[in-house]
């Protein structure tokens, strides 16, 4: 996807270098543009504990979807029992409609590696793994090249920058379904076990890879860390919103003039984001915000600012940072059903409400789409969704009812019409999940 220019004046935290640097420029060029300076600085003069404190002060929140405060997670790992600790950088990019992880790894692998080194140093992890989706093109190759160069330079490896700090980094390409992006699933996959989630707690921070304390962090979160070290926690905290500082990579797709990825500060309104992507091509009907487990928002909610609290309240998610614009010709009933079916098919099949419940939800949605439904089906969808969500084992399961629920919340007329037997408004196009 194309990298879209942000508004002038927006901070460029994640992709600051990427705009000016050729992707294959090599480590020297990257260093000239500022890469690895934070790492050298930290190794020379910042204690791990002070680094954690700085991340805590910065207010950085995890970009994996749930927005858990990064500093708190780091602290938990650092305080976990002694002995081997691991760091896992999640660059899997499970949402087929979001391309942020891949773009970041392609454009600035050094930024991710540097952030990873800082995080590993802070929590005392000596082994780190970066997970990349198998077959994601040049991302893995560029990452490997950057890793080799950094090791060559002595930034990573057995004696980092001549000190006793040890950090071995491996790149793992994993294949798997949507649920592989979930952190416990990712860890099981790294252990070469079947990719199924485990119940949390215990969280990976206390019991992660191979049963050891593990920091699992999205690559986008890590990429912000060098900036925090260089510019200071307070400077970072001043960007975005007080509740969620910093910037986020958003994948804008669907019925838009110029689909692409943009780095925007948290708190930007949905309207601003659509404008950057060329605006809606036709009449905008809805936005699917947060990927397949996200929710539909009506066109009327364009002034909603991007934030964890605001979106969840409105029935959507920050999630993978993907925003799909849905035009007026598309049936929300059909699209919500399509997403539910997708999630049902991507389920690992471990939890019973997920394996069967999502399928039944998809079938109930099918019933609405085809007119073969009972008048009570909408109520049944609500009731089943609540039970599936409350009994959920992992995030996929908990979020899977979102498309249908948010659809019913904002497009009640459409669902009522479908439920009454008149089929949903004509659906000329069925936009896929990926644009």
């Amino acid at each position: 996807m194309e990298l879209l220019a942000g508004r002038s004046g927006w901070p460029s935290i994640l992709l600051g270098r990427a705009a000016t640097l050729a992707p294959d420029a090599g480590i020297e060029a990257a260093e000239a543009a500022g890469a690895w300076s934070a790492w050298k600085n930290a190794v020379a003069s910042i204690a791990p504990d002070a680094l954690i404190a700085s991340v805590e002060r910065s207010g950085l929140r995890g970009r994996g979807g749930a927005g858990f405060p990064a500093g708190r997670k780091w602290r938990a790992v650092a305080n976990a029992d002694r002995g081997q600790r691991y760091l896992v950088a999640n660059g899997f990019g499970a949402d087929p409609g979001a391309h942020a992880e891949r773009l970041l790894l392609e454009r600035d692998p050094h930024g991710v590696l540097e952030g990873l080194a800082l995080a590993a140093y802070a929590v005392g992890a000596t082994e780190a793994t970066i997970v990349v989706r198998a077959g994601s093109g040049s991302a893995a190759a560029r990452l490997r090249a950057a890793l080799a160069a950094a090791e060559e330079k002595g930034y990573l490896g057995s004696a980092v920058l001549g000190t006793s700090i040890r950090l071995s980094v491996t790149v793992r390409e994993l294949a798997g379904s949507f649920v592989t992006g979930e952190e416990t699933v990712l860890l099981r996959a790294l252990e070469d076990r079947r990719a199924q989630p485990d119940q949390r707690p215990p969280y990976p921070a206390t019991k992660g890879l191979w049963g050891r304390p593990t920091l699992v962090q999205n690559v986008q979160t890590l990429a912000a860390v060098p900036w925090i070290v260089t510019h200071g926690a307070e400077a970072f905290a001043a960007t975005g919103t007080p509740d969620a500082p910093g910037t986020i990579l958003l994948s804008l797709s669907g019925a838009l003039g110029r689909p692409g990825i943009v780095e925007a500060p948290m708190g930007t309104t949905l309207r601003d984001l659509l404008d950057l992507a060329g605006g809606a091509t036709g009449t905008l009907k809805a936005l699917l915000v947060g990927g397949p487990t996200g929710g539909f928002l009506p066109a009327a909610s364009l002034d909603l600012p991007l934030g964890y609290g605001t979106l969840t309240e409105a029935g959507a998610l920050v999630g993978s940072g993907s925003i799909l614009a849905v035009g007026s010709e598309t049936s929300i009933v059909e699209l919500a059903t399509l997403l539910t079916r997708y999630l049902s098919d991507e389920s690992c099949g471990k939890s019973i409400p997920c394996r069967i419940g999502l399928r039944r939800l998809a079938e109930l949605g099918d019933g609405l789409c085809t007119g073969l439904c009972r008048p009570t089906d909408e109520a049944l969808i609500r009731s089943l969704s609540a039970d599936v969500r409350d009994a959920a084992l992992c995030g996929l399961e908990a979020g899977a009812p979102n498309p249908l629920l948010s659809g019913m919340r904002y497009f009640a007329d459409e669902f009522a019409a479908a439920s009454a037997g008149g089929s949903a408004p004509a659906a000329a196009a069925r936009p896929g999940v990926s644009a």
Partner: protein, 862 residues
């Protein structure tokens, strides 16, 4: 070995240790810090590291689980063990969440029950299997029909009757008067014709009666419990009361039955004619089984007249069961109903069933109104009493008659029947004596809101049947005037029946229970017997001091309400027609009160029972899914047979329908039967096989809705590293994996075909095969078997005595036979002391000659 290599522990040992450490439940020392948690309002002590579930189980608080295997850490697939932890928005699962000091936990909130119920409903919506066979499900008392038919086939009729008596104490009585709803749902019907289930238990019951006549005591289905010291009064000696008394007596209570009539039996004695149910030979003989158990009888004592409920309680009865039945015949509410010659059908039968002629009945013209069993009995008895003309009139069609199965027999005997006609008035002469009865034709009207077409009178179709007598048999209600005196708290329901709960049978008065027709309204004998038995369970629970309200919520006394989904039709069976009971010639039977059906011969009874397809789930009684399905009220109560030979699931009660999987049964393995259609994908077998046994034969395969816990590529277990340990079947919460029923007790080896390859010697996990003295020792010259038996057996199993015992017994047997067992061939799960007891234990080659030679040609598989 070179000196440069660092000394390292045996890696295989490391692997075992690692596996032990990482997978076995931690053996926590008892001295870990203890703290208090509050669960369901109780303050309980928990130890650090214990899960909420472990604390609950230790303290007898039941939390349902399906995927939890106590040997392993919580898995989290079934989501059944969700509990509510104060201060947490969504409920955590108790098998994985550790108890923390000061935690407040609830295990049975409405919300949790709703989540569990939804889970179960979802499972059932993809559970292409059934618990009870259709016949057993349809039976109001859920008799183990395949069970007693199997015993019949083997000629073991006493055992057959004993199985029957587990649910109904009177196989011979029911063998005569039951309408056999089971037979309508028999799956043999898909082959050619349903099995004669009723006639089969009749035969078995009759064999018991014969043996009783020869001095044997009737078989008792359960072990009689020691005397509890509690006294129970049962009012009414009909089917419900006597069945209650029977099971209460077995439970160890002191039971006294009160009967208003001079002899016990209720409707069985006074409502069903002799030609259908011989009183002395069958009824009294079968009731003897109850008296044998110590049940006492007081006759000529009527509730409300001779005593009240209070009287009984004041006399020290700990519980009172009211089972007085329905004796108030309903009224038609038409003109002339009080005329001379209009007779209450029950009054008529009361005299007539005793074999006495009813005054003035011979030679009269009789009209019988009604369509139930009483109307049949009235009509057929009238024929026998010499009525000149008997006409039965029913307002609906013949197919709607409760007693439809008997109509043709009635017609054969000479009675007439008119359907779809409703009484308008009784025609009388000046002396108010009946001269006829006027009826009007009925036709089915337009469907009402429920879709049923109700019969409506067709104007202008009135007609009169001339007659001398009218017998009313249009149903009965209970007589409840006794509730007004000495029975405070006992009330009538809206339907003018005795108000009592359907599961606990409690009335509004503590210690007083109501069961049978008085609670349900007039029903069949089999339904009453079932009511009586279930009531006995409730009374027993009450007498043991259990909380009946909790029992009602959790439905622990509820009858199994199993699930039905599509059942694959049988097509491969050889056709074998039903053996029908022969009747006496019509001319003989219409003039006689002697039982008119001629019983089976033993050969016929065995052959007929042999037609049973035995379509039962082997896991019944052990299945956690079924137990929880009943507790959470999720299972379906109805079977709706399709006419095309398949049956489909009832959609009335499971909210979720949709496509479901159909998997093939795999019986290729010698010891383990796999029925994937019953699999709920809990993963227990996969976890146990991998983490405890080490073989890893199963795993989750495929993704999404199609996920199934199975072998790779669904291959036969024979192709996996299965060691036939049976642990998967042991852990399976349903009937998806079962120990295979074994018929063989011994294998024979065909020596003419054996090529002495020795593979059997290698493969046998119990070392049951050995090469003889004349041949090379096959397994010594081969590589070690693929399975890491050492690793498997190194796992601590001291607590599992069965394994140790089996090994010890095998060793003892082997030594007794003079076989020389080297310690290296022992499965090391034996405590070392036992293994080294052998003087030859450390010998590298301990395979000495066996006495008798010829070893290796026989092997006992047991």
């Amino acid at each position: 070995m070179t000196d440069t290599l660092p000394a390292k522990a045996d890696p295989s040992l490391d692997a075992v240790t690692e596996r032990l450490l990482t997978t076995q439940s931690p053996q926590r020392p008892l001295v870990t810090p203890a703290f208090d948690v509050e669960i369901d309002g109780r303050t309980l002590s928990a130890r650090a590291g214990q899960t909420i579930l472990e604390v609950c189980r230790e303290n007898g608080i039941e939390v349902p689980t399906l995927c939890y295997e106590p040997k392993l850490p919580g898995f989290g697939a079934c989501r059944m063990c969700v509990v509510d932890v104060e201060g947490e928005a969504s409920p955590p699962i108790s098998c994985s969440r550790e108890a923390e000091p000061g935690m407040t936990v609830q295990t049975q909130t409405p919300r949790l029950r709703q989540i569990r119920k939804t889970n179960l409903e979802l499972i059932f919506s993809d559970h292409n299997a059934y618990c009870l066979p259709p016949c057993q499900n349809r039976c109001p008392s859920h008799i183990d029909i395949p069970g007693f038919l199997k015993a019949n086939t083997e000629g073991n009729f006493i055992e057959s009757a004993r199985i029957f008596k587990r649910t109904i104490p009177f196989p011979s009585v029911l063998g005569r008067v039951c309408p056999a709803p089971c037979e309508e749902h028999c799956r043999r019907d898909e082959v050619e014709e349903a099995i004669a289930i009723r006639d089969s238990h009749r035969y078995a019951g009759d064999q018991v009666l014969k043996a009783q006549a020869a001095g044997m005591k009737a078989p008792v289905p359960f072990e009689v419990q020691p005397a509890s010291g509690k006294r129970v009064a049962v009012i009414g000696s009909g089917p419900a009361g006597m069945s209650s008394a029977y099971y209460l007596a077995i439970a160890g209570h002191d039971v006294t039955v009160y009967e208003r009539d001079p002899a016990p039996g209720g409707m069985l004695r006074y409502g069903i004619p002799q030609y259908r149910l011989p009183k002395v030979e069958v009824l009294e003989a079968e009731y003897q089984g109850a008296w044998d158990l110590g049940v006492k009888l007081v006759t000529n004592a009527e509730l409300g007249k001779d005593f009240t409920v209070s009287d009984l309680q004041n006399q020290g009865f700990d519980a009172v069961v009211v089972a007085i039945g329905c004796y108030d015949t309903n009224r038609l509410g038409i003109p002339g109903e009080d005329a001379d010659g209009v007779i209450d059908g029950l009054e008529y039968l009361r005299i007539a069933t005793l074999g006495l002629p009813y005054p003035g009945h011979a030679g009269t013209r009789v009209v019988v109104v009604g369509g139930g069993f009483s109307s049949m009995d009235c009509s057929r008895t009238s024929v026998r009493q010499g009525a000149a003309e008997v006409t039965l009139v029913y307002r609906r069609d013949m197919k709607d008659m409760p007693a439809a199965s008997e109509v043709h027999e009635m017609l054969e005997e000479g009675a007439r029947a008119i359907f779809q006609a409703a009484p308008v008035r009784v025609v009388t002469d000046a002396a108010n004596k009946v001269t006829g009865m006027e009826f009007i034709r009925m036709a089915l009207g337009a469907p009402d809101a429920s879709g049923r077409r109700r019969p409506e009178p067709v104007p202008g179709t009135e007609f009169i049947i001339e007659c001398d007598r009218v017998l009313l048999a249009i149903g009965q209600g209970p007589e409840l005037s006794w509730t007004s005196r000495g029975a405070d708290g006992v009330n009538a329901s809206k339907q003018k029946r005795l108000a009592a709960d359907a599961i606990t049978f409690s009335t509004g008065r503590p210690g007083v229970f109501g069961t049978g027709d008085v609670r349900t309204g007039a029903a069949t004998v089999v339904a009453s017997v079932a009511e009586g038995r279930r009531c006995a369970y409730a009374v027993d629970a009450y007498l043991q001091g259990m909380d009946l309200e909790a029992i009602r919520t959790r439905q622990t006394l509820a009858e199994p309400q199993p699930e039905f989904l599509s059942i694959v039709p049988y097509t491969g069976e050889t056709k074998q027609p039903r053996i029908r009971l022969k009747g006496m010639p019509i001319e003989v039977r219409k003039a006689s009160y002697v039982e008119y059906e001629i019983p089976y011969t033993q050969e016929e009874a065995m052959a007929e029972s042999g037609r049973c397809l035995q379509c039962t789930c082997e896991a019944i009684g052990y299945c956690d899914l079924r137990r929880q399905g009943i507790e959470y009220g999720t299972t379906l109560r109805k079977l709706e047979p399709g006419r095309d030979g398949t049956s489909y699931r009832s959609v009335n009660e499971n909210r979720f329908t949709g496509i479901n999987h159909d998997y093939l049964r795999d019986d290729s393995h010698a010891f383990i039967l796999r029925e994937p259609a019953r699999c709920i994908d809990c993963g227990r077998c996969a976890n146990v096989c991998k983490e405890v046994v080490g073989a890893a034969c199963y795993d989750f395969m495929r993704t999404g809705f199609d996920t199934l816990v199975t072998t790779p590529l669904d291959m036969s277990l024979n192709t996996t590293p299965c060691v036939s340990c049976g642990r998967c079947a042991e852990t399976c919460p349903t009937g998806a994996l079962m120990p295979k029923p074994r018929v063989l007790e011994k294998y024979e080896v065909d020596e003419s075909r054996c090529i002495l390859c020795g593979i059997c010697v290698d493969a046998c996990p119990y070392d049951a095969l050995r090469c003889g003295p004349d041949f090379e020792l096959a397994h010594e010259s081969r590589e070690e078997p693929m399975i890491d038996l050492l690793a498997i057996s190194s796992i601590e199993r001291d607590s599992e005595l069965s394994y140790v015992r089996r090994e010890r017994d095998w060793l003892a047997r082997a030594r007794a036979q003079g076989r020389d067992i080297p310690a290296t061939r022992l499965l090391p799960m034996l405590p070392t002391g036992v293994a080294n007891g052998n003087g030859n234990g450390t010998s590298a080659n301990g395979h000495g000659p066996r006495p008798g030679g010829g070893g290796g040609t026989h092997a006992h598989a047991k």
